[in-house]
Amino acid sequence: MSDAVLAIEELRVALPSWADRSYAVDGLSLTVQREQILCVVGESGSGKSVMAKAVLGLLPEPHVRVTGGRALYDGRDLLRLAPADMRAVRGGRIAMIFQEPMVALNPLMTVGRQTDEVIEVHTQLRPAARRRRVLEVFGDVRLPEPERILNSYPHELSGGQRQRVMIAMALALEPALIIADEPTTALDVTTQAQILRLLKELQGRHGTAILFITHDFGVVAEIADRVAVMRHGKLVEQGGVAEVLRRPQHDYTQALVAAVPSLVPRQAARNGSSAGHERPLLAVSGLRKTYLGRAGLAWARRRVPAVAGVSLEIRKGHALALVGESGSGKSTLARLIVGLERADRGAILLEGIDVAGLSRARLRPYRKTLQMIFQDPFASLNPRWRVGDIIAQGPIVNGTPRKTAQGEAAELLRLVGLDPKAANRYPHEFSGGQRQRIGIARALAVKPKLIIADEPVSALDVSVQQQVLELLDRLRTAFDLALLFITHDLRVAAHVCEEIAVMKDGVIVERGATAAIFAAPQHDYTKALLAAVPGRDWHR
């Protein structure tokens, strides 16, 4: 084991007394080898980020603190290093890349200066030499026009460019080890693919070891040499990437791997009801919405076309996935259809009636047909209402007597796999997945014909995600619901919907049966999107 860059032995990190378990990391041992990418995978709360922070001495002490174990780097125990020595190692020999580059970069300093600072702190180089080095690493991470980027502020760069700057900062001193904590989670798929490729390439060229923390098995398949799976602060399994992904040994790993939605598209064949001439349940045509910037005079404000002429239709009982990256206008489209925003132009025909121009009050009678499931399971339930009241709210508003509505709410809770007694409890007593089930029950309560789901599983862990998707699928068949499913994740889209529409810059660039589009994408953007799915070559 002479070529181990970092050896963590029996690491133990204690949590404060009010936490739900006593150790965030509990007797973890790991080694990162030279020139190797070790992926640490785990669901939220598995202790993977705490482990990384403990190694770098970044824990929020005294609440969370190391109580045992060693982290050997270059023969020295990082956990017992004096602060001054730790500073020399951190950033110099061991660099870190964070999840959210916008937060990790100082908004008041140019990115060039921030990178320069790293070199200034750790070396004796003169300003001219430092500048050369900064330009060199900026070129290394493929930032376009390094000279210009040097003098840019973080807000002037795109998300992908900001993450490249973070990587450049990490690489500036040729560290022996880079610790990357979910570095691509906040990025769009296509950007993520570029960053992953870049990391892999740079790692090969510089011979750096990388400790890569992620929750995404697709990313693991894409980048890892070795994998370590964590759960509740303990190491569950580790091994070479091929072994762990193809032949996971531990039950938990098997469950996790099985929960990743496969890229095999869902078949369109649904028994019977695909009558071609039936009137569509929802028909949107020529829908437009432009936002005006707040700054400036009325006629000179920045115009942001969020939805620029979208037409689509959904038939009874069918499911359409709307796929696109952030800023593509997919969420705005959903909000227009459910009437949370008013369109500038275009028609929204709900069972043949145009609801596009209606005011909130005039729209009320049509609300029953159309319901929405929201993205954030924590923000979408009123913390001061009991779960039963939250679910019964829709029917009560629509004139169902309170008693009946409450009874139905209990029934719905059973339907979504929760105990009917949950009706008397408050949302904060439930986990993210359970809350999303409550959100689904609420949407079903008024017996809608169409449900619009805006990224309903993107805030959930894979295993929970799988359960929620299964539930949604089961309910869809049971109630013959139509579904407009908005997602950025092609795996999820392939899993849930027979039809798919790809959205970019406010327009739908390609639409058709999921199987057909996956087999032969026509539009360049669809091709890029499909190519960017992490771990697309990995089939279980």
Binding site: H63, R360, M372, Q375, D376, N382, Q393, V397, G439, V446
Partner: protein, 275 residues
């Protein structure tokens, strides 16, 4: 909720302040029993020193200082609380409507509140009392008029953030009407900052009331701490207790209310404390 009470009462400053406030409230409530004669009645010779026939002595006209203090507690608390409730009700209404509807309504209401905020509040209160003629009602009106804009701002800011939360959008999608959404979904979630600001406002109202009474603009038929200080001021060198005792009463009461407000804030936002 249990941890809220534990944090609230675990704070020694809060407990001491609540004890003092409880004492003052009890005295104010029992004023007619504790001091049955009118606080304006002349009961002895002027400038009797404390710890004589009367516990706190008498003032320049021979009125009992203690009786005045007891009845003054009643006046100060009553006017402050009624004024604060009025200000909170009006401020909440303006802030909630401005925040919820946004756009032009918001602009108009906020410019309206700024109109009140740009006038120095104490001078504005003096002008109002002078115009309305001094009485308990005009004190309440004056104090409420100068105190509501901060409440409106706090409520508006809260409503703006809560309105964007998904559960409010879910209520809209469910077809709930605007008023039930505002009252049932939005405002209950804006309660904690409102309670904190409101409690601090009571302290401010006591100060304004005392200052107005000190200037002789208080309710003429009601004894108050500010009036006692005003009446004792010319004799500060000869009878220092006439000014000091009601002054200390104001100080302790206002301080207690501020500490309770701060304690509420800490207990409602425990994370602010930890950081």
């Amino acid at each position: 909720m249990q941890s809220f009470w534990r944090r609230f009462f675990g704070n020694p400053r809060v407990v001491l302040s609540l004890l003092w406030l409880g004492f003052i409230v009890a005295i104010a409530a029992a004023a007619p029993l504790l001091a049955p004669t009118s606080p304006f009645a002349i009961v002895a010779k002027p400038f009797a020193p404390p710890f004589g026939e009367f516990l706190l002595g008498t003032d320049s006209l021979g009125r009992s200082l203690l009786a005045g203090l007891i009845h003054g507690a009643r006046t100060s608390l009553l006017i402050a609380i009624v004024a604060t409730l009025t200000a909170v009700a009006f401020g909440t209404l303006v802030g909630a409507i401005a925040g919820f509807y946004g756009g032009l309504v918001d602009d108009l209401m906020m410019r309206f509140s700024e109109f009140f905020q740009t006038i120095p509040s104490f001078i504005f209160a003096i002008v109002l009392v002078a115009i309305l003629a001094p009485s308990a009602t005009s004190l309440v009106v004056a104090i409420a008029t100068v105190s509501w804009p901060p409440i409106a701002r706090v409520v508006r800011a809260e409503v703006l953030t809560i309105k964007a939360r998904e559960f409010v959008q879910a209520a809209i999608v469910a077809g709930q009407r605007d008023m039930p959404i505002l009252l049932g979904q939005v405002l209950p979630n804006a309660l904690s900052p409102l309670i904190v600001t409101g409690s601090l406002l009571v302290a401010n109202a006591i100060l304004i009331e005392s200052a107005l009474s000190f200037l002789g603009l208080g309710a003429p038929d009601l004894m108050s701490w500010g009036f006692q200080i005003g009446a004792g001021r010319p004799f500060l060198r000869d009878a220092w207790w006439l000014v000091t005792v009601p002054g200390v009463a104001i100080l302790l009461t206002v301080l207690s209310i501020n500490l309770v407000g701060e304690g509420l804030n800490d207990a409602l936002n425990p994370r602010l404390r930890d950081l």
